[in-house]
């Protein structure tokens, strides 16, 4: 039986401006730039690539990078939708984040021993103009337990791109 744990501080939403009262109450928001490696693909953010997208379409980038300690991986999920359709864009990102979390759970299940201990850290940097909150808790739980729960909770969220980074570090043998 696998052992999973999500420390309270392992799930965070980073915004580059002062927090709103709602975000302060939420407890998961942090003012500043998300820590860790920058895995955002800047090309797909460019308008020239998104100009001819139809409603519901998006350009996505899933980036995977090895970490420095044994078993450490970084996975970044990025979704760029039609220009100016902030809520559609954010909704696309959130769906992809939950879906990719489920895929990641499946991949880890394939690779890891059954009794593996997995630490998950998930940081999100959502779109500056969308009001939908990224489902960071559900995404982390999905990686660990394989359950997808779609969320409809909203709050004011600010930042530059629709991106979330999932970090997974399997514990080393002592």
């Amino acid at each position: 039986m696998s052992t999973f744990k999500i420390p309270d501080e392992a799930v965070r939403i980073y915004v580059d401006r002062p927090l709103t009262p709602e975000e302060k109450v939420d407890g998961k928001f942090v003012q500043g730039t998300a820590p860790g490696p920058d895995l955002v693909n800047p090309e797909i953010v460019e308008h020239e690539h998104r100009r001819d997208l139809d409603t519901g379409e998006g350009i996505i980038c899933i980036a995977v990078r090895p970490g420095e300690t044994l078993g450490e991986l970084y996975v970044n999920v990025q979704f760029e939708g039609q220009i100016g359709k902030y809520e559609d864009c954010m909704a696309g990102h959130n769906r992809l984040l939950l879906q990719a979390s489920d895929w990641l759970r499946g991949a880890l299940e394939q690779l890891l021993p059954q009794d593996a201990t997995v630490d998950v850290e998930l940081v999100a940097s959502p779109c500056p103009d969308a009001k939908t909150r990224p489902p960071v808790e559900n995404a982390a739980l999905t990686i660990l337990e394989g359950r997808i729960v779609y969320t409809t909770s909203t709050t004011n969220v600010s930042r530059n791109v629709n991106t979330s980074t999932l970090r997974n570090q399997q514990e080393q043998q002592p």
Binding site: C61, I62, P66, E171
Partner: protein, 172 residues
Amino acid sequence: MSSHTRIRSRPRDPIVHTKVSGRTALSLERVLGSRGRTVLEETLQKSKMPQAQKWAPRQDGQGGFTTVVQGASLPGELVQRGMQRLELNIGLSAANAFVTHNATFSQTQPVMAKEVNAAIEKIVVANVNELLAAAVAAQLQQQLMNYSTQTLDVHVQQTNRQTTEILARIAQ
């Protein structure tokens, strides 16, 4: 009345010279399951990673590959101590990574084996993590192909930051 004297014994650290060879083992039991090894082998055989070209299953059931680290890829602290080239033969099993190494130094200045071993472990960890990342990326790519009713233009690129990017245009 009493007096305290603190004594720390200092283990002797073997000194290595211009050419050094050795063998180390890194436990992967907590990282890699038995199915994980199969997935890794498949990933290596299918991928375009340099290691894949050198991947060769061996008679003892392990797979292995050779990697040569030199120039800017060598750990800075060892370059300062004269390391020019480090060849690693890495064998992977479900439980362990066995590594034999051959390091070449340009100077006769002594270098502590502990420093060499720490650098080698770092490189081996980086290699194992690269394999894990490649295996995860391959599975995510496969899943992405079936994600949307219209997943278009899926392609994969390796950036110069050791990052694998799976790019796609999708319609939901």
